[in-house]
């Protein structure tokens, strides 16, 4: 079945009447008219083109029951969708948990899960969105609580965190197909409007489709048609139980990016699309890459909208069902144009709605400056893959939506709050404290806000996106009535003069060069000064320190054609960077020829370079004309002065302990609600 644009989306629909949205009265409708057009698929009419893509969150119980935490999380996303499609996390469907890839994944393998699933569907409906239940057998990414996982063939794993694969017998396959159908039936009982099947990033359906992981010689293997048989039978069996009115969506790889392992060619992926369409799916979500792929797909180095060419290939291949797409498609203007150009039909969002659940609503209202931007740091994924509840760098409320303690609420007593430092920690604290009703002033010694993000956003490979967060924080602080005093270095006397009730020190970390012998013999430069272009360097650079500032500095300099050596004491480069992002940094360091020495520290600096020494006392001389230092230490200098005035004193962000951006933002938020 094809689809049709429905001019009057208020016509009879299986959805409740409270979804009669009139978008035309909002300014965002004029800016992005294509995002707010209805679309019908089978009997489901969706009033706009926005879809929240399924996201595991590890918020549910280990035995698969839905929790209050997950319901509150989903409700918030549904609220932001202003009528769009809200997909719940992929549910696992087998009692053994072979298909379970995440410890907090919701289950749907028994009737006992229906009430929990109904709570999710009800929450979505109460917020006026369309409820989509994703069925997800995670295949070779599964068996999270078992010593093995299953797949079409026992192809060894590349990633150490994944379990050894057990080849599925035909009985296993048939049972798994039936489990999909049974779970779909339960989803309907729970009240979902759409059923989605996950066939991406290395999960079971994609394992069957890929020539990399499917080496079978029976009817479920062989050519692309054989490899797609499992998907086809899943779709057909689901259709048999859900009837003809309910749409089936599928997420399918358009390009596995697994060429080096013998994965499908993009043309074969398009064949899979055609087969899926023929099998009766009503919408295909176009995806890229596998978890085992060596190529970056969703990090900042990939330009916004980069992957749209894959959706276009699908259209060019004459795929008739609507196409949806996420994957570095964060900007409404790009999505709106892609819909206008006929490349996609539905804008999917995953991480941007983790970062800001109300994003589509803000787009509709034309309040783009209010959108808290996702910075594509993948902290969310890193947490999931390590069995931890999901969190977000820029949105401290993720996973706490249910908890009143985390809400911003009017202050019982209005306080005069002096925030020292206009970096991310200080700005977030200022925003939250001002929203609670306090009288908040931010003092910043420089003439611009952003702290270390100013320098960090000068890094290569898309790091300029980091500054978008500062722009958002600035705008929100202004709206909340925060006063700014730039070019103002706070002294103990000034604290006495201001006489605040509360002092929040968010002055950031201090960059330090350890006093090694010969430190005065060579040009020394602080990494932030290098990134901001306020100091010159030579041609042969030794970057001292392998945490994120050092990595960004090294990449920046190497991209400028300098010969860069990075030396760090830790066993690994990027010890402070989350595992879902650090591999991309390491790949880039290699690509641009940065030599890295781990387990080393500088022993002595000479006129021509530095002697570095490792933990086994092995010494190497590194020729260099400039040392760029990037290690940091906390800076709490004003703390005592503030205490003497009698103020409540809080130290937040890197000023407390040099860490990552998410620590700064979360510190700022937590102290903001506590004041």
């Amino acid at each position: 079945m094809g689809y049709a644009i429905v001019p009057n989306y208020r016509r009879k629909s299986i959805l409740p009447k409270n979804r009669n949205w009139d978008y035309s009265i909002y300014s965002g409708y004029k800016l992005f008219p294509n995002l707010f057009q209805p679309i019908q698929t089978r009997k489901v009419i969706v009033p706009n083109r926005i879809k929240y893509a399924a996201t595991e969150d590890n918020f549910n119980s280990h035995d698969g029951f839905v929790t209050d935490r997950d319901v509150a999380y989903i409700r918030e996303r549904a609220r932001g969708l202003v009528g769009g499609i809200c997909t719940i996390q992929g549910v696992y469907m087998d009692p053994k948990g072979e298909g379970k890839g995440y410890v907090g994944q919701a289950g749907a393998w028994d009737e006992k899960f229906v009430p929990g699933l109904k709570r999710l569907a009800d929450a979505i409906h109460e917020e006026g969105a369309v409820a989509n239940c994703q069925l997800m057998h995670t295949g070779r990414v599964g068996g999270v609580e078992l010593p093995y996982c299953v797949g079409p063939s026992a192809v060894p794993q590349r990633l150490v965190v994944l379990k050894p694969v057990k080849e599925m017998s035909k009985d296993d396959i048939r049972r798994s197909i039936k489990e999909h159908a049974a779970a779909a039936k339960r989803a309907l009982e729970a009240g979902f409007d759409v059923i989605e099947v996950s066939g991406i990033v290395g999960y079971l359906i994609s394992n069957f489709i890929s020539s990399f992981t499917n080496r079978r010689t029976d009817e479920y293997g062989g050519d692309i048609e054989g490899r797609c048989r499992y998907m086809v039978e899943v779709v057909q069996n689901v259709r048999d139980v859900i009837g003809k009115d309910i749409p089936i969506f599928i997420r399918l790889c358009s390009d596995e990016l697994l060429e080096e392992y013998g994965g499908n060619k993009p043309e074969e992926s398009m064949e899979a699309y055609k087969i899926a369409e023929k099998a009766g799916v009503d919408c295909i979500s176009v995806t890229m890459g596998w978890q085992e792929s060596l190529k970056t797909v969703i990090t900042r180095d990939i330009k916004q909208g980069h992957w749209l060419y894959n959706a276009k290939r699908a259209k060019d291949a004459n795929i008739k069902v609507p196409l949806s797409m996420a994957y570095r498609l964060f900007k409404p203007e790009i999505a709106d144009k892609a819909i206008a150009d006929g490349i996609i039909d539905i804008w999917e969002l995953c991480r941007p709605l983790i970062a800001d659940p109300l994003m589509p609503k803000k787009v509709l209202e034309g309040n783009l400056e209010d959108i808290r931007p996702c910075i594509a740091c993948n902290l969310c994924l890193a947490r999931l893959f390590r069995d931890a509840p999901m969190t977000c760098t820029v949105n401290p409320l993720v996973g706490h939506e249910w908890d009143p303690e985390w809400k911003i609420k009017p202050a019982k007593e209005k306080k005069k709050v002096m925030i020292v430092g206009g970096g991310p920690a200080g700005l977030e604290c200022a925003r939250v404290a001002a929203l609670e009703g306090h009288d908040v002033s931010v003092f910043e010694k420089r003439n611009l806000l952003g702290g270390q993000i100013v320098a960090a956003s000068k890094g290569p490979y898309g790091d300029e996106e980091l500054y978008g967060l500062i722009e958002n924080l600035k705008a929100q602080c202004n709206k909340a009535g925060v006063k700014f005093r730039l070019n103002t270095e706070v002294t103990p006397e000034m604290i006495e003069e201001v006489f605040p009730d509360v002092v929040v020190l968010g002055t950031g970390a201090r960059f330090v060069a350890a006093p090694v012998p010969g430190i005065d013999k060579l040009r020394l430069a602080r990494v932030t000064d290098v990134l901001e272009g306020s100091v010159e360097t030579g041609e042969k650079i030794l970057v001292w320190g392998g945490k994120s500032p050092g990595i960004i500095g090294a990449l920046y300099l190497a991209n400028k054609g300098k010969k860069v050596t990075l030396v760090c004491k830790e066993r690994k480069v990027g010890k402070d960077v989350n595992p879902s992002y650090v591999w991309r940094y390491i790949q880039k360091l290699r690509e641009v020829g940065v030599r890295t020495y781990v387990n080393f520290d500088i022993e002595e600096i000479t006129r021509n370079g530095a002697v570095i020494k490792d933990v086994t006392s092995t010494r190497i001389f590194i020729a260099a004309d400039t040392i760029v230092y990037s290690e940091r230490e906390s800076a709490t200098d004003l703390s005592e002065a503030a205490k003497e005035v009698g103020s409540e004193v809080y130290v937040i962000g890197d000023a407390l302990v040099p860490r990552r951006l998410h620590n700064a933002i979360h510190d700022g938020y937590r102290i903001g609600v506590r004041i």
Binding site: V160, R571, R595, D614, V615, T616, S617, T618, I620, F621, I622
Partner: protein, 179 residues
């Protein structure tokens, strides 16, 4: 005659790369052997039994090296034992140093970094097994040193990285001159 192009840095880099790879292979092999031994172990033998036995054998071997290095008449005998432990640990990729105690006849060895727990985690081995195995190794070494030199050195594990302490600390004390 054309000279061979030669870079000291490259040579050392290559050597270190191989050394680090070999160290990792060594650690991985430990856990792989453990797995194989467990599969063939007679009924009733636990992983901890095997691990303690293996570290005991290893400890006896290590002690042989120490016996040639140490001199009982040295005023710094206890510190020398600690230094030998540091030497062994460093060779295995750990970061360790000797810290003098406040009391006479007392020294500490402190490890700020150890790659073993990471491998234990990778092979899904309980962290406590790592602590007890390590301790067995040291106790065996010290027992052999004591037997050989007729001394009464006591070794106590007070902190352990696998227990989440952030560092390993072992206290060495010389209880009396002779048994």
């Amino acid at each position: 005659m054309k000279l061979v192009e030669f870079s000291c840095e490259n040579e050392l880099r290559n050597l270190l790369t191989r050394f680090n790879a070999l160290s990792n292979i060594n650690r991985a092999s430990w856990y792989e052997w453990r797995q194989a031994a467990l599969e063939y172990a007679r009924p009733g033998v636990t992983a901890l039994d095997l691990v303690l036995k293996a570290w005991e054998i290893s400890g006896h071997d290590t002690a042989k090296g120490y016996l040639n290095m140490l001199d009982k008449t040295s005023k710094t005998f206890l510190e020398d034992v600690a230094k030998a432990i540091v030497f062994s640990s460093t060779m295995m990729g750990e970061t360790a140093k000797v810290v003098k105690g406040e009391k006479p006849n007392e020294v500490f060895v402190r490890w700020d970094r150890c790659p073993w727990p990471e491998f234990a985690r990778r092979y899904e081995v309980p962290m406590e097994e790592d602590v007890l195995g390590c301790d067995k190794w040291f106790q065996t070494v010290i027992e052999d040193v004591n037997r050989f030199f007729n001394t009464r050195i006591k070794l106590e594990t007070t902190k352990a990285i696998p227990r989440g302490h952030g560092m390993c600390v072992r206290r060495l004390s010389l209880l009396s001159e002779e048994k």
